[in-house]
């Protein structure tokens, strides 16, 4: 954040000397202000329009030219959207799906990564390889056999349709999670684990009281992305839980039969949870984005 000349280690495309000349400084501020204005308009503008659209009447919503501030703000559309969409139920469904998926993912992916990284079972590398190979499979292409599988689970013949399990279980098969966690566990020194073993701790105890406390950052990353993935998914919940719709699917189903200002209000309500999550955890999310992809 320093406004002084940066050292060469942090210099970028344009040299700091250039920027400190009067012309350079003027150009810098012009570009900065322009970018800020355009980016705010492009990325916040639509969200602002959505938030204020719910306060407008249907007529005001479609009038030319559009009003920037609602002329007779009313919260009527929000309460109507809440009722007509069954927003409470949709929210509850989505929270249950996302929360359960997160819990199962954390339990099984962490256990698997710990086993592959520290307990080293026979064929561990083959298993890891097969998990990673599944990242190459386009998810949408497998929807049909997955759907038939959850209709009639092999061997036990359970039908998981319209139960939370149908959302929860497939999210555990996330090779990227296992990979991220394993790589992190690999960086935890074995001496720490050996010391715990000497103190008489079994693998579960070691995982719980040595490995997990050290892994908070990566657990945070995996958790946030696990939650958001369920929140954003569309095709899978559309076909597997038609009776207990997610927020995404429910809003889409109701979209055609609602007055426009009610729908816009509904869209805004549906967006609040993940936007709030983002604003609170944006540091972790941004760190997580680059954790997997860099160091290639």
């Amino acid at each position: 954040m320093s406004k002084t000349v940066r050292s060469s280690a942090t210099r970028t495309l344009i040299s700091p000397v250039r920027l400190n000349q009067p012309g350079g400084r003027r150009a810098y501020w012009t570009v900065l202000v322009l970018t800020l204005a355009i980016a705010t308009l492009v990325f916040v503008g639509p969200l602002y329009w959505m938030a204020t659209g719910g306060f407008k009447s249907s007529q005001e919503l479609v009038q030319t030219p559009p009003t920037i501030i609602p002329s007779h703000p009313s919260t009527h559309a929000f309460t109507e959207a809440w009722d007509r969409l069954g927003m409470a139920q949709l929210l509850l469904n989505t929270v249950v799906y996302a929360g359960g998926a997160l819990l199962l993912q954390l339990t099984f992916c962490v256990a698997a990564a710990y086993s592959l990284s520290k307990l080293r079972p026979v064929l561990g590398n083959v298993i890891l390889g097969m998990m990673l190979a599944s990242m190459m499979i386009p998810a949408a292409a497998l929807v049909i056999p997955q759907y038939l599988t959850v209709l009639d689970l092999p061997l036990v013949h359970w039908n998981l349709m319209n139960t939370p399990w149908v959302i929860w279980l497939p999210t555990v098969a996330n090779a990227f999670n296992v990979f991220l966690l394993k790589r992190f566990f690999d960086s935890i020194p074995n001496e720490l684990l050996d010391a715990a073993a000497i103190d008489g701790a079994g693998p579960l105890r070691t995982l719980w009281s040595v490995v997990l406390p050290l892994s908070r950052p990566i657990l945070g990353v995996v958790s946030i992305f696990g939650l958001v993935a369920v929140w954003k998914d569309f095709l899978w919940p559309l076909i597997t839980v038609p009776e207990h719709e997610t927020l995404n699917v429910g809003v889409n189903t109701a979209a055609t039969s609602m007055p426009q200002n009610t729908l816009i209000a509904g869209l805004f309500l549906a967006s609040i949870p993940t936007i709030a999550l983002f604003l609170v955890f944006q540091r972790n999310i941004m760190a997580g984005l680059t954790a997997g992809s860099l160091k290639g």
Binding site: T10, T40, M131, A139, L142, F278, L294
Partner: protein, 317 residues
């Protein structure tokens, strides 16, 4: 970071490999078996989920694509399903639409984030704010973002046409014309998704050593040449990886078509995955849908193989 952590590893590794060998005494063998059982017990949950939801469906899809179900009985039918999808008048248009979406989406989805990252990286102010801005739409439930744009794109009262009129530019029919529908979908999708690519590029740009720019500048390279000779080679790996991920993701486009246009107008936004969905869930032809899934797997598999081959060749140079 790794150097400090790996120090002392050899000893631990030696301890491990000692009891990994079955050894001569029955006690050692029993210990090794017990150790492995325990390790596999930790794996079992994830293993079952992978088996049920990726490995088994993969095999099942291939098997299904050669079968047909008639009156509740399964028959082997050879390549019948494949012949059927190749003969479907929607088949080639669906691929054309898919490639069209991928092509346009790459053009925008690749350049927009890269240029944004390049510009933002030069700023000494407001970087944090800009990062939050571009990532904000990524966090919206996709349906919310998509339906919002449906209003903006309405040919009558939509905000976009009102702005175009205000600027005395020609208006567009957006989603209602086959000529512009796909482009409109790309616009929505780019707006909603470019945030993650931008942040990844931004992180990559920040890892470029400043001396390289310094040296290039001393050699008299202008800004564009510095981008071409320093920035792009230094971020090549991440750029090519993101390119591949984006191709694979956009080739599977479904939600935008389904929510925004229902595949129309006149089939102009019916993609391969949309067609697959129709086969299975509107026409009840799961085996034909599976055959289409296999074709999609093969196409994307071939693409990944070519990518890996090029990557490896690039690495050897």
């Amino acid at each position: 970071m790794t150097t400090a952590l790996t120090r002392g590893r050899p000893d631990a590794e030696a301890v491990r490999s000692r009891d990994r060998n079955p050894g001569r005494t029955p006690g050692a063998l029993r210990r090794a078996v017990a150790r492995n059982l325990r390790a596999h017990a930790f794996l079992i949950g994830a293993l079952l989920c992978f088996a049920l939801f990726t490995w088994y469906p993969m095999v099942r899809e291939i098997v299904m694509s050669f079968q047909k179900v008639r009156y509740g009985e399964t028959h082997w039918v050879g390549f019948d399903n494949f012949r059927q999808i190749f003969a479907d008048p929607e088949f080639w248009p669906a691929w054309k639409n898919t490639f069209e979406f991928t092509g346009i989406a790459l053009f925008f989805g690749f350049f927009a984030p890269f240029v944004t990252a390049l510009v933002v990286n030069e700023f000494r102010h407001a970087q944090g704010y800009l990062r939050i801005l571009v990532y904000l739409p990524v966090m919206l439930p996709p349906v919310a973002g998509i339906l919002l744009f449906k209003y903006f794109m309405d040919p009558g009262y939509g905000l976009f046409n009102q702005i175009l009129e205000f600027l005395h530019l020609p208006t567009s029919s957006w989603l209602t014309s086959p000529d512009t529908a796909m482009l409109s979908l790309v616009l929505v999708s780019t707006w909603a998704n470019m945030g993650s690519a931008t942040l990844v590029y931004l992180a990559a740009l920040q890892s470029i050593p400043g001396e390289l720019y310094e040296a290039a500048e001393l050699d008299g390279a202008g800004v564009l040449r510095r981008i071409w000779h320093v920035t792009i080679p230094q971020t090549r790996l991440i750029l090519s990886l993101m390119l591949m991920l984006q191709v694979v993701a956009t080739m599977q486009m479904f939600t935008e078509s389904f929510v925004l246009t229902g595949g129309g107008p006149q089939g102009s936004t019916t993609t391969v995955v949309y067609m697959l969905y129709n086969y299975a869930f509107n026409f009840d032809k799961f085996n034909t849908a599976a055959a289409l899934g296999v074709v999609l797997l093969l196409v994307l598999g071939a693409f990944s193989a070519v990518y890996l081959w090029l990557e490896r060749r690039g690495g050897e140079e």
